[in-house]
């Protein structure tokens, strides 16, 4: 099975005070640590598991700068055969442009399945995967947490709300957006990542993909970003842990919990 898996590098923002940059439209990224988008880690693992089970070839693709190659190397270390980075050539992109770029870059490749994460941890849009499928004319399903290969199709488990899953048969070639928890992404060591450096990592500029300026035009624009309003949040308790503990027990009792 020929599989393409799309990955993105995202900033890790826990315990970080996000700071808005001068443009007012994005955050200051200096000093932030970066990780592979959580959902994409599951997508890569699923691609590798399918390859190990039924054979095939896995290509990891990202759209980004040289620094973003880190996530491709991780995918290669996990078992992808080769990788492609589409360089942004200094352009700002939105979900649709990213989807068009990936579609153009993998055009003509032998392909049975494309996997992406359900969404990216940074902008939380959940659009690139399905847009890519539509541009390429692939069948698709969003929020998948189980894949069972069959002849010419896949039996997939789509996660709905409230603990309900839907079992659906999807014709190949297809694109699935992968939900967290579908597998257990394998651990890769620094050594493993270093070894994977021998594998092919091809770079191609977004400007070399034959896309027109109209194709590259943004459909949406962030006018401004702002921090959540400070008001109306929790009443913050203070003190050392034992004082906090006493305060919390007191609240629980007041709210009718027999502690």
């Amino acid at each position: 099975m020929d599989i393409i898996v799309c990955v993105k590098r995202v900033p890790f923002t826990q315990e970080v005070d996000l700071e808005i940059d001068k443009s007012g439209k994005s955050i200051v990224t200096d000093g932030l640590a970066y990780v592979i988008n959580d959902w994409d880690g599951y997508a890569v693992e699923e691609a590798i598991l399918l390859k190990e089970r039924i054979g095939g070839n896995v290509i990891a693709v990202t759209v980004g700068s040289e620094d973003d190659e880190e996530v491709l190397r991780r995918a290669l270390a996990m078992g992808a055969d080769r990788a492609i980075r589409i360089d942004t050539c200094g352009r700002s992109l939105d979900g649709l442009v990213v989807a068009k770029a990936v579609a153009a870059a993998i055009k003509g490749f032998p392909l049975d399945l494309v996997l992406t994460g359900v969404q990216a941890d940074d902008d939380n849009q959940a659009v690139v995967g399905i847009m890519l499928a539509e541009i390429m004319g692939l069948s698709h399903a969003a929020v998948v947490r189980g894949i069972e290969p069959e002849e010419g199709s896949l039996k997939v488990r789509v996660e709905l709300e409230g603990g309900i899953d839907e079992i659906r048969q999807v014709k190949l070639p297809a694109l699935l957006t992968i939900q967290s928890g579908i597998n257990e992404p394998r651990y890769v060591s620094v050594m493993g990542i270093r070894k994977a450096a021998k594998k092919e990592l091809k770079v191609i500029g977004i400007d070399e993909l034959g896309l027109s300026e109209a194709d590259l035009a943004l459909a949406t624009e962030i006018e401004e970003v702002y921090l959540p309003p400070e008001t109306g949040g929790a009443e913050m308790l203070s003190g050392d842990p034992s004082k906090l503990a006493r305060a919390v027990i007191e609240i629980m009792r007041r709210k009718g919990v027999a502690v």
């Binding site: 847009m131 541009i135 039996k155 488990r157 999807v170 401004e224 921090l227 009443e235 629980m252 502690v259």
Partner: protein, 323 residues
């Protein structure tokens, strides 16, 4: 000009709450825009619609076909893109649900209309539509506009963002499309629904939930929280990553893809507060959140907040309870 089209979701022969929320917001926007509100219902038989439903739209387009007894993406996308092309609405709205996450981006590509997803608010600047959405799991908000919305735009709305209006007093002209013939062959086929939520304990009945998130760090340490829950007389629940990692079974999970809970007190330990999680605790009486990160979004929805390492807090709580 100013017309709004809403895609209505149903499951297991029942209208979904999120669609009522969206149509209520659409009513407000359509009034401001002086446009017509059209609701599209695709179903095998649309007899599950509440009797007052038609008063929520100026026009109710009902397409009945066996293929719509469940979500058939191919057929749904075909019918809706056709309706969009015929009617050129100013705004198309649907839920940011697993189905809307499939349909929204696909319709955007097919119709060429720009898309903004997972929106928590929608505003009007004259007749131009703008959205508010969250980035970084709720740590940042963004106001988004469409570069070229001259032909319309599509928005997927986060469930729970808007209240359901009592009634909307529209005239509800019914348009039935009986035979949606020429639907293309489906690229996927519905097989069945599976309920993954049942288990040994029922977190929805607990009065006190001691809920852990990814902040618990490793499976081995969950035992410490179990002990705490035992001392407090509460039940352990968790966020999704805890289940994803196989640390606790799925029936402990709170949130949109887990359970909605209604304890008197919900104690959240090391949970950041993503909307898919907090959507499940809307019915909780009091929420107390413990998190190392003072900027964790959970503190915006909690009643009480504690900035502390969850294990240090848990140990102190155990000690106090032991006294």
């Amino acid at each position: 000009m100013g017309d709004i089209l809403v895609f209505v979701e149903h499951r297991s022969v029942s209208l979904r709450e999120v669609s009522l929320q969206i149509i209520s917001k659409a009513d407000e926007l359509a009034t401001k825009l002086a446009g017509r509100l059209t609701a599209v219902v695709l179903a095998a038989k649309a007899d599950f619609l509440p009797s007052d439903f038609s008063s929520r739209a100026d026009r109710l387009i009902v397409v009945e076909d066996e293929r719509f007894s469940d979500f058939d993406f191919t057929a749904a996308a075909e019918v809706i893109s056709k309706i969009i092309k015929e009617q050129s609405p100013h705004l198309v709205m649907m839920g940011h649900t697993p189905w809307g996450m499939d349909l929204g981006p696909a319709l955007s590509v097919r119709t060429g209309l720009p898309l903004s997803t997972d929106c928590v608010d929608i505003t009007l600047d004259g007749t131009r539509v703008k959205t508010v959405r969250q980035l970084y799991g709720g740590k940042l908000f963004a106001r988004v506009s469409f570069r070229d919305d001259s032909k319309g735009c599509i928005i997927t709305v986060r469930p729970g963002s808007f209240p359901v209006a009592a009634s909307c007093g529209r005239k509800g002209e019914l348009v039935r499309i009986e035979n949606a013939a020429n639907l293309p062959a489906s690229s996927s086929r519905f097989i069945e629904y599976l309920d993954t939520g049942a288990g040994e304990i029922d977190i929805t009945q607990a009065e006190l939930l001691v809920s852990i998130g990814r902040g618990v760090g490793e499976k081995e340490r969950i035992e410490e929280i179990r002990e705490l829950a035992g001392l407090l007389g509460g039940v352990v629940s968790c966020s999704r990553p805890v289940v994803d990692r196989g640390w606790l079974p799925k029936y402990h999970q709170v949130g949109t893809s887990g359970k909605s809970v209604k304890p008197k007190v919900y104690l959240a330990l090391g949970i950041s507060g993503a909307f898919q999680h907090v959507a499940g605790i809307a019915g909780a009486g009091t929420v107390i959140a413990v998190n190392k990160d003072k900027k964790a979004p959970i503190f915006r929805v909690a009643d009480y907040g504690v900035v502390e390492d969850l294990f240090a807090f848990s140990d102190a709580l155990k000690e106090e309870l032991g006294k």
